[in-house]
Subunit: 152 residues, 2 copies
């Protein structure tokens, strides 16, 4: 219940600067966008390196069209392949290619190092716990319709 929005302004500055730094590093080191890496890491975490598009959408929290455009671009670059599910003709199957597997294996260490350097290393263990709680509180407020918003 602070009267001022100092926390908000500090958070906003940090959020923008930190995201920009890590994105730029990722693009330079690996030629990947944030979105590319999210998709690749989600696929790499599955046993066969493949997922239904719906599962990917739920895992990432993305909209249908966003995922579709993203997959088309990544398929064009040879990072993954798309197919149709034999059980349900509506479902799309997404699978890592060998190239995609190599790229994500290459990019992940750099990415983790960047997070370590600019986030983990500059925060105390207590601050990390605090931030985890803060994030949970905000997410809880966003989620369950706790606040009445305009209905459609």
């Amino acid at each position: 219940m602070a009267a001022s929005d100092a926390a908000w302004r500090a958070y906003e500055r940090m959020r923008i600067q930190l995201a920009a730094r890590i994105s730029r590093e990722l693009a330079r080191e690996s030629g990947l966008s944030d979105a590319d890496l999210e998709v690749l890491m989600a696929l790499a975490c599955t046993p066969g390196g493949s997922l239904q598009a719906l599962g990917l959408r739920c895992a990432l929290g993305w909209e249908k069209s966003r995922l579709s455009h993203q997959l088309r671009r990544m398929e064009g670059r040879g990072l993954l392949a798309r197919g149709v599910c034999s059980e349900d003709g509506r479902a799309a199957i997404v699978a890592l290619t060998e190239l995609g597997r190599g790229v994500v294996a290459d990019a992940t260490p750099s990415y983790r190092a960047a997070v370590q350097r600019w986030f983990t290393d500059v925060l105390s263990a207590q601050q990390q716990r605090d931030l985890e709680d803060i994030s949970a509180a905000i997410l809880a407020g966003l989620g369950p319709g706790a606040h009445t918003v305009h209905e459609d």
Copy 2:
């Protein structure tokens, strides 16, 4: 320090969801993007509602081309006007129009209410202080030439 990246993952989820919520609300209520509002608020905070483009760039921390594209689009919508400084032919002058002034006056309360509802109201005073410190620590880590600074 921490062996796990739980704090990072929690922060990332929160950051994405919160930004999406506030952006979507702003677009729906006022027809503005985040970038639009940043520019309008910066201009509205000056006595005459006008600034040199360089001042705007420094205030927002944007790149030259980003500001130029943004101003062109906003000028096209009638939110602001661009002119040339009489003292220095290189400098651009940016000024709010009457429409722009009305739009920002209209949008600001909604925006502040959204921040209040989804950020301020769900955090304790202590959490807000903590987040301010956390943000400052991260920004300090990014800043002092530890690595590449924003060059153009």
